[in-house]
């Protein structure tokens, strides 16, 4: 029996609360991060990802306290991202109980940070988050890296960028389609497949999940090693266990 495909609920955290919006705006309160983390753990989540979307630096330490509290009660892998700019940020998050740290915008402006962090802490704990938007359609589609919540183009080709991040020591890629994020119409499967086929490291598909079939499609059609979703779990539409049952019915290996 092979390695299980992972389901990873994502918690967007700001000012100590879990929130969810559409395309990073219209944020709704979804609850207390520790309570939500415990609920997902009980439902059989394979990992949890926390994205600190706090805009200002004053409340950044809140995420450290949240991770400490979660790590004392939830014994599955925890990934934390958002606002990671320096080796010291990674060290502090790992010290607070994070198992992996996700680097996003900082990698674009300073790719060496990915190498420095993977050299220092090991590839296994360095996730590079990629926000991509489709820019070329048709037979040879292309996707470009965007920063600042999908607002700023960088001119970087997503597939080439992902390969470069792998070469610099990323242990995993967290791939978000900015076209799909919050739209609930499913992952960008072509993008997911293009990146997964190009890399030897695991790819986590993100952005666009609206129902359980979308999760299964991400694995079977997109070739994702793990699927990440937020809103379908936060507001009680589906449990993680239901998602796994649905995937298993389609022949996908899951941990149940």
């Amino acid at each position: 029996m092979p390695l299980a495909k992972r389901i990873i609920p994502c918690l967007d955290v700001t000012n100590g609360r879990v929130v969810k919006g559409v395309n990073f705006v219209n944020l709704r309160d979804a609850g207390d991060p520790v309570e939500i983390a415990k609920r997902y753990d009980e439902q059989g989540a394979d990992e949890l990802t926390f994205l600190d979307i706090t805009a200002t630096s004053d409340n950044r330490d809140l995420i450290l306290h949240i991770i400490e509290a979660v790590a004392a009660q939830v014994f599955i892998p925890l990934t934390v991202g958002g606002g990671v700019r320096a080796v010291e940020d990674v060290r502090r998050l790992l010290h607070a109980g994070a198992d992996k740290v996700s680097i996003n915008t900082a990698a674009v402006f300073n790719p060496q940070l990915v190498k420095d962090c993977s050299d220092r802490f090991g590839s296994q704990c360095i996730v590079v988050a990629i926000d991509a938007k489709q820019t070329v359609w048709g037979a040879a589609p292309k996707w470009e890296i965007f920063t600042h919540g999908g607002r700023k183009p960088t001119g970087l080709d997503a597939v080439e960028w992902a390969s470069r991040m792998q070469d610099l020591g990323a242990g995993e890629i967290l791939l978000t389609s900015m076209d799909r994020d919050g739209a609930k119409i499913g992952f960008d499967l072509n993008l997911t497949r293009a990146i997964s086929d190009a890399l030897n490291i695991p790819v986590i598909a993100s952005g666009g999940v609206g129902n359980l079939q979308h999760l299964a499609d991400g694995v079977r059609m997109g070739g994702a090693d793990a699927v990440l979703a937020a809103s379908i779990f936060h507001f009680g539409e589906y449990t993680v266990e239901q998602a796994k049952q649905h995937m298993r019915e389609q022949g996908i290996e899951v941990r149940l």
Binding site: L3, E68, F75, I76, L94
Partner: protein, 227 residues
């Protein structure tokens, strides 16, 4: 050598050599053994006096060996592994062997065998799909032996239970009799070894929910010296 039953020693010493998710390991032990005295320490005297020792670790093998030497912990680990129940986790398992392909690095040499990189040419599933390296996620652990021969560390854990892995290298023991668990990716590799006081695992029990917590609970009561 310090007496392993020293009444002043802590119940569980978790070795701190500057690498690894020490907080996760200590929190998990606190959860399964709330009354036990559990410390994260880099002090060889504390390790020598402890009743049980945990050697955790994530990161790269050459860094691990360098940090152990720089902190004067190499000898303390060798003594602990010989004298008291000793649990190696992930890099803390790999470092017990003679050699690792990671950075062409010598290990502690407490167990015969080598640590190898998952070979790129073999990383395909039965249906031909590519298998990624690092091997990340929940995979099934088979306990190798049945009935009375089953190692006491597996008590209460189903054969084939899933544990959380994250690694690119795996141990290849020279002596098959020390294999206490294996996993398929895609070939069978050794994910647990046992010899005398030592039990070591490639996966992360502290991140493997109920099955992992049970393994840690078993360690807190395991007396070692058993096969």
């Amino acid at each position: 050598m310090t007496d392993q039953n020293n009444a002043d020693g802590v119940d569980v010493a978790i070795i701190d050599y500057g690498m690894g998710n020490l907080l996760s390991v200590s929190k998990a032990f606190e959860h399964v053994a709330p009354l036990a005295d559990i410390v994260v320490t880099a002090d060889p005297a504390v390790i020598a006096a402890a009743k049980r020792v945990v050697f955790p670790g994530v990161g790269a093998m050459p860094d691990c060996m360098r940090e152990l030497a720089a902190r004067g912990l190499t000898e303390a680990i060798k003594q602990a592994a010989a004298n008291k129940p000793f649990l190696g986790i992930c890099l803390g398992m790999q470092a017990l062997f003679a050699h690792s392909e990671e950075g062409d690095s010598a290990g502690l040499g407490l167990l015969p065998g080598n640590v190898r990189l998952f070979p790129a040419e073999a990383m395909q599933d039965a249906d031909g799909s590519k298998l990624k390296v690092p091997h990340i996620g929940w995979n099934q652990v088979y306990q190798g032996t049945e009935g009375e021969n089953r190692h006491p560390m597996w008590a209460g854990i189903e054969d084939g239970a899933r544990f959380y892995f994250v690694h690119s290298y795996y141990a290849e023991p020279a002596d098959p009799s020390m294999v206490a668990g294996f996993t398929h990716y895609p070939f069978a590799f050794t994910c647990a070894v046992a010899r005398d006081n030592v039990f070591a695992v490639q996966f992360h029990p502290e991140k493997s929910q109920a099955a992992g917590l049970r393994l840690l609970a078993n360690f807190v009561t395991w007396e070692g010296n058993q096969r």
